[in-house]
Symmetry: C2
Subunit: 388 residues, 2 copies
């Protein structure tokens, strides 16, 4: 097991009926003037908005509202929000939504205390050292952003969908998670969330780390859990227990528990997907369902025993050599993605074959990718071709 540091101070409040606690959580920490940030307005239809407003009012918390954060959130919106924070001297950010809103909040929180353009932290010329405190109410499970410091934002005019260099100040202080509010989510978002959670787990699982027995056990158990409960939700989207399991697993997938003692993940597939969604209007989870099997096909020979173990333990593939098990495990995860209705080919989302070179150029903009196998620009092109 590799040496590691685990530190995750986010307080998670999980379960039905917990959202009304937000006002008390804010006021007990003396946060009095907040940015209330959200997305496209679904929270006004499912009652979450009213619950929050009541709780803020009851606790006498002033707020400035900003809506309109889009999936694949963009830097111009971050700039708009930073300006609001500075203008109104806001002391806290309340992000209500999924990963796009929470990722934006981290960039906004850092930007509000930074004199330059916070994009510097995405280019990597600075690392975030201070941030307005961030509170979240999670309404779409997928990215795990509610319990980590990650933030991915797109700079539209340069086609850069990049992660921010963050620090401990970007952990949400409190994240409230009520599985019930996801009961009426469009089924495509449930599917994308399930794929995203599995993809996060696989990034660590396949990164080539030695001696990760308990991490493997956790990872395999989480993937089995996602497979079981995403299938239940396809038939019964309001199933509270399955919503709960999927919600909590998506958080655990990227909160440091399973990554501790690993190399920190491979992440080539995520960067391959980020290029995809920088050019095409594709949900992150959908893009991952396409790119992960393609990546697996390209790299599995570099970690054949692990791919065989994956097949055995997650899909019960016990026949044949490790090579056979490894290949069959790739088809098994691809079949599962298909079964729940996720796309598995670039053609499923209307990517043009002419764009593959451009995608490879974009994905390799920061250099070679990956941990289990170093992937140069031409490797990335081959993977896009496998995904076509």
């Amino acid at each position: 097991m590799k040496n590691f540091t685990f530190y995750n101070p986010t307080k998670v409040i999980f379960g039905e009926g917990t959202i009304e606690q937000i006002g008390a959580e804010l006021s007990s920490r003396d946060h009095k003037k907040i940015l209330f940030l959200y997305g496209q307005g679904s929270i006004k239809r499912n009652g979450v908005y009213d619950t929050i407003i009541n709780s803020l009012n009851e606790n006498k918390i002033e707020f400035v509202e900003l809506d309109g954060v889009k999936p694949n959130p963009v830097l111009t919106k971050v700039h708009e929000a930073v300006a609001l924070c500075k203008e109104h001297k806001l002391d806290t950010i309340l992000a209500v939504g999924g990963g796009s809103v929470i990722d934006s909040a981290k960039a906004i929180g850092a930007g509000a205390l930074y004199d330059g353009d916070i994009w510097d932290a995405f280019e990597g010329t600075i690392r975030v050292k201070e941030s307005l405190p961030i509170f979240t109410i999670l309404t779409i499970s997928a990215t795990g952003s509610e319990m980590n410091t990650n933030s991915v934002v797109t700079k539209e005019n340069e086609d850069k969908k990049w992660p921010m260099l963050t620090g401990p100040c970007s952990y949400p202080v409190v994240s409230i998670m009520d599985p019930k509010v996801q009961a009426e989510l469009p089924i495509s978002q449930t599917i994308n969330g399930a794929v995203d959670a599995i993809a996060h787990i696989m990034e660590f699982y396949f990164d080539g780390s030695p001696n990760t027995d308990v991490q493997d056990e956790f990872s395999e158990g989480m993937i089995r859990t996602v497979i079981k409960h995403s299938k239940i939700l396809l038939a019964d989207p309001t199933n509270y227990e399955s919503r709960s399991q999927l919600m909590w697993v998506a958080t655990l997938a990227l909160n440091g528990v399973i990554s501790s003692g690993t190399k920190g993940g491979d992440w080539a597939t995520h960067m391959l997907e980020h290029s995809l969604s920088a050019f095409y209007d594709v949900a992150h989870g959908a893009g991952l369902a396409i790119m992960f099997p393609a990546w697996m096909k390209y790299v599995h020979e570099d970690n054949i025993a692990k791919f065989a173990q994956f097949g055995e333990r997650v899909f019960g593939i016990n026949e044949g050599s490790d090579e056979v098990k490894a290949v069959n495990s790739i088809y098994a995860i691809e079949s599962f993605f298909k079964e729940i209705g996720a796309p598995t080919r670039l053609t499923d989302i209307n990517v043009s074959e002419n764009d593959l070179e451009k995608l490879a150029d974009n994905a390799s903009m920061k250099g070679a990718l990956g941990s289990v196998k170093k992937l140069e620009r031409n490797d990335l092109l081959e993977i896009y071709k496998l995904a076509f």
Copy 2:
């Protein structure tokens, strides 16, 4: 899944060669005058003591030393340490050792800021609200105390081995865990640690909580990991990878990850064991190896499907009805405890049959025990008889 709050701000620094970071961790937080608390002196033989002293000196941290914390730590030692903290106006506690030292540190940290006798928090007349900050260096893996707020101390003259009513202030700020320092641990302590970790996992696993798929997956995976690596360590006590796995699993067993969404554990077995070690000089892990199978025999009919699942997934018991699998799972865990050299009967540790009534009286001092089945004084007596 039940509603829950997860909050665990302890920073874990894990791996070979990490102990020398202690001085920098303390001084970066402005802790300047500390109580350096440890046990029976094994840290002077394995080099840990010298590493710590060097690191404290390099970082110009003043310290007052107190050694002699015993296994099954006692209140008189806590009082002695509290007096030292007050006399020297110490601002921090550094606990170096296993659960007994770290549990004591939590009582001392709370006691140093409390005007009365900190035993009040064990009687339950107060709950701890403030504490001196606690830093730990873990040298014996077992209790998980390095990453939770638990503290169990014995009031010798009243035969009370009880847990303290703590709060978030009792989380260690930083815990440093170097698996290598456990290479020369007496094998009995390794065994006791393995049993203790498994026992913690089973307290949650068998507490009768509904809808805990991912928690079950984690729990079963952790127990399989402990079984695998404790067997390796019996043959090869210096195996770093097995030490690492056992160390990290023991922490994960009781840091809130697997308990989230459960009823919070059964804990009858732990209280049965606490009575045992209040009267007899028996290590906690050894007492648990005796009491857990006895408890399982007494209660398994109240949660037969879960006991069958345990047998299937942990020991591969696939034959027969759930009843048969459940019974066989109990014998399987008992056999494992025997195989690694843990005691499994009260006679193995020379408990007198005449004492069983006294043990049952003591264990029921605070009322009925347990979650999956409420156990009154006479139930507890029956379980002690099964363990005899």
